[in-house]
Subunit: 419 residues, 2 copies
């Protein structure tokens, strides 16, 4: 790992060598991987990157903590599309909006970026079994990425996890433990089991490599924008690991001279579960909250990565915005109708936050904003139908169709021109 | 359209100019788009293609029937991953197997390729409204691709369509008509409505441009294989449009000198609904069948594109293989467990057919085979759970976990090495 200097505790500053099975600091603090940015700057440039045909997160190898000899894991993760979202921007009254659809990853969420990294590091560690706890997406992405690499998985999810994610886990052949309790209970049980059996740990708040995988989402955004720095990047926040990773990627690019300034983050949480945003908003230490939102992926009452997440929001001079479940469902409809992007509830929460921030006057309509959709709506069809409603049911005849249109106040559009 | 000569009826041979709103021949036959392959060969080469950074189906523009000035529709369709599937190949006893995961398209199925083409051609036609009937995937892909382009859609699906596909349709803002009848009933009602209101027609068996979009799947496979021709390409067959498109792509490459021989197709249908394969197997004209399979996307009792599909199978000296619903569910588990790919039932039917063909001795273990997964399993979570079962439910304590492991005969793997 030519450019990796080591790992450093974000709490006490203690330094560690970057061995593959690294977990937390002796003080309990989370570690952060350190790079030699001067060397990266010397050896690597946007121009060189532009010539790399690799359409995956592994195009950013110099910024990633893996051995040069470690092959990329089998599933193709990353290089998700960044859409210019003019139709949605116009509806929201925002000059320039982009949507990064990270639901287009192999297991349909951003978490594939961290799981691919976990698989690479587990292989380096010589491990054949990986375990994690998760609200669902980290779990299904680990199960899929590990299956493709021939590794076994033990996965702990709260029993509230949506059916789509559970189906993925089972299909990928994971040993799935559905925990009859909160995410907090689930996390603690996974921790005890990992301690007992010594599996490779893919809990993002413990394994410091995982946010290095997640950071590829912002590396990609900036490259896809031609290194033009947006004013804001909005995303949903649960455990805190994803926003921490997103910020790390931006700082990497800045430190290596790829960008000349840093965007501000918009951290969006659900009103019913916003311990990190509340800490930002009140200036007090974070306190646990209930997990009271339909956005299951970010229903995290006891965030596992508060230090890195709060530092990311503060260092970026970020906005902390809370949205209601109704606003989340509205964002699902909005993104679908205007941009053809179907996100799961937590996936669209960033977009809901952009709308809210505009309404609250926290965000200028002249801003350039990127909203990251972190997971595919097909993972949670129940809430998709809840957001958008059932279709009309019609008997197979023109009379029945005309009656149904009349009943639903639909006047069919006629052909708009002689074709 | 520099390289398009026109359209020709596959039944009577009548020729038509390639106007954007082209439908079927006056004789009822389906049209096929004709190209000037000598000109393509003169202007375009694998080497030039290798330099194209476009990671989407539009990298193959010289092979596509769109005006040079028509912008690609907004969603990024195509360039799905082709995985070398050694683990699955070993389980099946096949020397070289590849899996093309076309569930990694924007709305999670291969149909995005056709819908993107429909949106491009509807724009050329100046239409603002598109309609189609579909077992589900063509519908949701049209709804998503059209929404992103700001076009309205009227979509007809049989009421049996899985929840995931219906949720997509609703979220994308389509006017959805759920028809209480078979796919045949659904198709006929959509035809009557399109006749009445004059919408742009995205029924793949009527609009000849759509299989030109679908063919990009085989253009990609061959490029991803470095133009090394596999022995077989396996895929599921319903209406017949996809296999017709796949074959068209292969013939295009052959005619333009990109490949020097043609692979054979493996056409896989469900035992309970295999009118096209039955025609191949018996040598008789095809006959309607009941739609008796859980693989909803290929439950097509009256295929709408029999001529092109049967010609594709015959011209390629292809295999026609039927599989049971149990074999389809087994293929879902196999692909998930060995390769981390989660396909919907019809999506994995091609793979089920590869296994079956090996078992029947139709396929030599020495063959090189590509299996196309045509849709994501998240679209049909119900059958995912049916294939793989529910997870174990455990109270949040180590004692409860140990009991559950014992009950399920699970002996947790210990750490395999000192890390």
């Amino acid at each position: 790992m030519k450019y990796v200097l080591g790992a450093k505790c974000v709490k006490c500053g203690k330094e560690y060598p970057a061995v593959p099975s690294l977990t937390t600091c002796a003080c309990g603090g989370i570690l952060d991987i350190q790079y030699d940015y001067a060397a990266i700057r010397r050896d690597f440039s946007p121009r060189e990157l532009a010539r790399n045909p690799d359409c995956s997160m592994w195009r950013y190898r110099p910024f990633l903590p893996v051995e040069e000899t470690t092959p990329p894991p089998p599933l193709r993760v990353g290089w998700s599309p960044l859409y210019r979202a003019d139709r949605l921007g116009a509806e929201l009254g925002l000059k320039r909006l982009y949507v990064k659809d990270d639901g287009l990853n192999p297991t349909a969420s951003l978490k594939d970026r961290a799981s691919a990294m976990a698989v690479a590091k587990a292989r380096e560690a010589g491990a054949d079994t990986i375990a994690c706890s998760s609200t669902g997406n980290a779990a299904s992405s680990l199960a899929g990425n590990a299956a493709a690499a021939g590794l076994s998985t033990y996965i702990f999810v709260p029993s509230r996890a949506p059916k789509g994610k559970v189906a993925q886990l089972r299909i990928f052949g994971a040993t799935v433990i559905s925990v009859d309790g909160s995410y907090e209970d689930t996390f603690e049980l996974s921790r005890a089991a990992i301690d007992r059996w010594g599996w490779y740990n893919r809990n993002a708040a413990i394994n410091p490599y995982l946010s290095e995988g997640k950071k590829t989402v912002t590396l990609e955004i900036l490259e896809q924008l031609g290194w033009q720095v947006p004013d804001f990047i909005a995303l949903s926040v649960g455990d805190g690991c994803t926003i921490a990773g997103a910020w790390k990627g931006l700082k990497d690019l800045h430190s290596a001279g790829f960008i000349d300034r840093l965007p501000r983050l918009i951290a969006v949480q659900a009103e019913g579960c916003c311990p990190l945003n509340r800490a930002i908003q009140t200036g007090k230490p974070w306190q646990p909250m209930e997990e009271n939102t339909l956005a299951d992926s970010i229903a995290v009452g006891v965030p596992r990565n508060p230090d890195k997440a709060l530092a990311a929001i503060r260092e970026s001079n970020g906005l902390a915005v809370n949205v209601s479940d109704e606003e989340i469902l509205d964002a699902m409809r909005l993104l679908g109708r205007t941009q053809g992007v179907f996100g799961e509830p937590a996936g669209v929460t960033g977009t809901a936050g952009v709308k809210k921030a505009l309404e609250l006057g926290l965000l200028s309509p002249d801003s350039t904003v990127v909203s990251i959709v972190t997971g595919n709506g097909l993972k949670d069809v129940h809430n998709g139908i809840r957001a958008a409603g059932e279709p009309m049911l019609v008997k197979p005849s023109m009379d029945a169709l005309l009656s149904a249109f009349a009943e639903h106040h639909i006047t069919p559009k006629e052909r708009n021109s002689l074709l």
